[in-house]
Amino acid sequence: MDNFVNLFNAAVLAGAPLLFGTIGEILTEKSGNLNLGVEGLMFMGAIGGLSGVYFTEMFAGSLSSSLLVLLIAILSAFLCGCFGSLIYAFLTVTLRANQNVTGLTLTIFGTGIANFLGDVFSTSSAGNYMVISNSAKLAFGNQPILPFLARLGEDSMFWNYVNRLFFSYNFLVYLGILFAVLMALFLNRTRVGLNLRAVGESPATADAAGIAVNRYKYLATVIGGGICGIGGMYISMVTAQGVWIYNCVGGRGWIAVALVIFATWGPARAILGGIIFGGLTILRMYVPMGIPIEIYDLMPYVATILVLIFTSIRQSKEHAMPKHCGLNYFREER
């Protein structure tokens, strides 16, 4: 049981950045924009979140309030993600560029600029090391969030496990789950959410019904990009513990794009997907199977391929990709 708890904890922690990327991309795709730049956006959020805290500390001294650190990190990562996806939205919505190529370019650009700035900031810092203060790092640490439950757990096995399984993570994990639930409600239960889905399914119909198609596309893409940025920040702040590591995102953005398909465009199902795929990336440390590490590391990728194949064979009508996803909408040429 202890082994399972540890595995589950590690899976959740590894899955959280994937979750952010996935729900950000779900929001984007619901507007009909297939943004393949998630990897780049996560890179931009990773350097953005780290820089936000790093430079605030440089100018204002080390921050003692965890809440403030979190806010700065989330906000700066979000804004960097917004900036990246704004480029994408401008090129694809206003200038009608090809979505696939624009997304790939965003990945090249975002990866490049994050590693570039990370290198510049690192070499100009004291120890060739871009790192935030220890007190700021505490804001991203895992801790029991319900102290009374932790006390209960001291006496009872059951509450001990409940506490460790569900209430012992860093704040960002809960934020991710909250985002996913809110997004599910937004897309299924609100008028604006339904309008957005109409834009992704059939922009011409939505346009005729008086929905401002371009405004929806812009907002969904930009906010979705911002959420992806927070996922990147999670990697530099939680996974890398507040230090800039070259190429730190390392393909997670791409797995997030695949997870959108796994979750069949449902934000709530993305939570499950995040935990499963997060688990696959760390499984080898917990369940030795006597196969070489390098082969073990392939599991999330092979699993993604299998998911792609099975979902395409099943072809469910209800949980399919938004019909107009990947295509630009030209009002003049409909």
């Binding site: 393949l36 480029i87 401008f90 090129l91 206003t94 200038l95 009608r96 560029a97 090809n98 696939n100 190529v101 624009t102 790939l104 370019t105 965003l106 990945t107 090249i108 650009f109 975002g110 990866t111 490049g112 600029i113 590693n115 570039f116 290198d119 510049v120 070499t123 393909g251 791409w254 794009v257 695949a258 398909i261 070489p292 590490i293 390098e294 082969i295 590391d297 392939l298 990728y301 092979v302 993604t304 391929i305 792609l308 194949i309 395409s312 064979i313 072809q315 003049e332 040429e333």
Partner: protein
């Protein structure tokens, strides 16, 4: 409008008011010269944006750009290095262009290069003493082409049968190929001794040189001509283009869309595999994690910038290789990180993607019909 009955003129003006400030109108085909002028301006604007970034770091952008050019082309050695960087990029771009012609979003050139590299390396490492050098090289070449072709066709088969998303499939295969290389490095093909590395090839398994560069450049030129003919002059190339424009049209015209997809991806994968062969046998003399080194991704940029024109790709690939080599140089002279080349590549592509809009459309403003390019 407050008045109920307006004069005809003011009514007309009110209707004008209802029109949006800017309308977008598709242009009839723009003269070629003008189109290239717009692309030129966009290119300069991208360099300007890059200059801004360099300026923010406290360097003189002109000196940095000049240093890049000198670093890439200044001496015979650096020129050879730049050509060596151009070759895999160009070959991979040719491969990508074939699939992009069908709107098959293949971002798996990276993995196909590695698959080719693995196959070629097998013969180089284990069969080098069984046959004469020329035969060994030919077998390595063929093995690489076959391996790359199979690696590339796999997603196409699924796309043809079940419409499986090819973008992610090809991408995931990149990671799988990279994982296999890491596995071979650490395990079965590991050179005795400390680090996980594969041994250098024997001399017989290395491509000979001509004018200082391995003869991969001859192969690459041949590939450029082949792909140009294939895309422009062959029935296959035409079918690929029709499938790209509209699969329904292709089906209506009696083409087997699935077969076109798989066939074209076999060729595309083979070319990428050959690029892998040239890397292991001509450039690095071994197989390692960096054998593809992002070439497969940059190749997408090359193919798109050149608008899938093979001759254009020669120019673009050479230019991006120059950026890459130049970025190493400015890293040593100015301490500007070498990733600057990625940033510049991204910027240039953003601007190029954006400028196509002004070539295809013109803006019509409300007052009068003033067009703007």
């Amino acid at each position: 409008m407050t008045e109920k009955r307006a004069e005809p003129q003011t009514r007309h003006a009110a209707m004008e008011q209802k029109q949006p400030l800017v309308r977008i109108v598709r242009r009839p085909v723009m003269p070629l010269g003008q189109a290239w002028a717009i692309r030129g301006i966009a290119f300069l604007a991208a360099l300007l944006a890059g200059a801004l970034l360099i300026g923010l770091l406290g360097h003189n952008p002109f000196l940095v750009y000049a240093d890049m050019v000198v670093g890439a082309l200044g001496t015979r050695t650096s020129l050879i290095e730049t050509v060596k960087l151009t070759l895999p990029l160009l070959a991979a771009a040719l491969s990508v262009a074939l699939s992009f012609r069908m709107r098959f979003w293949n971002i798996g050139a990276e993995g196909q290069i590695l698959a080719g590299g693995i196959a070629a390396s097998y013969f180089a490492l284990f069969c080098y003493d069984m046959m004469p050098g020329w035969l060994l090289l030919i077998i390595m070449f063929l093995a690489a082409a076959v391996a790359g072709a199979l690696w590339g066709a796999l997603p196409a088969v699924f796309k043809a049968k079940w419409n499986t998303n090819e973008t992610l499939f090809t991408l995931m295969l990149n990671y799988v190929a990279l994982g296999l290389v890491k596995y071979l490095e650490a395990g079965p093909w590991k050179k005795p001794g400390g680090y996980p590395k594969i041994d250098m090839f024997e001399d017989v398994a290395r491509l000979p040189k001509l004018f200082g560069v391995h003869i991969g450049w001859l192969i690459t030129i041949a590939l450029v001509i082949l792909v140009a003919v294939y895309l422009r002059r062959s029935k296959h190339g035409y079918e690929a283009a029709v499938v790209g424009e509209s699969p329904d049209t292709a089906r209506y015209a009696g083409m087997n869309v699935g077969r076109v997809l798989v066939r074209t991806m076999l060729f595309a994968g083979a070319i990428a595999g050959i690029a892998g062969f040239m890397q292991v046998s001509g450039a690095d003399y071994t197989l390692h994690e960096g054998t593809a080194g992002g070439v497969g991704f940059t190749a997408i940029t090359v193919a798109w910038l050149a608008q899938l024109n093979p001759w254009g790709m020669v120019v673009v690939a050479a230019f991006l290789a120059l950026l890459d080599k130049g970025a190493n140089r400015i890293h040593t002279t100015f301490g500007v990180p070498a990733t600057a080349s990625d940033v510049l590549t991204g910027l240039i592509l953003f601007f190029m993607l954006g400028c196509e809009f002004f070539i295809n459309y013109r803006l019509v403003f409300r007052k009068g019909a003033k067009g703007r390019g």
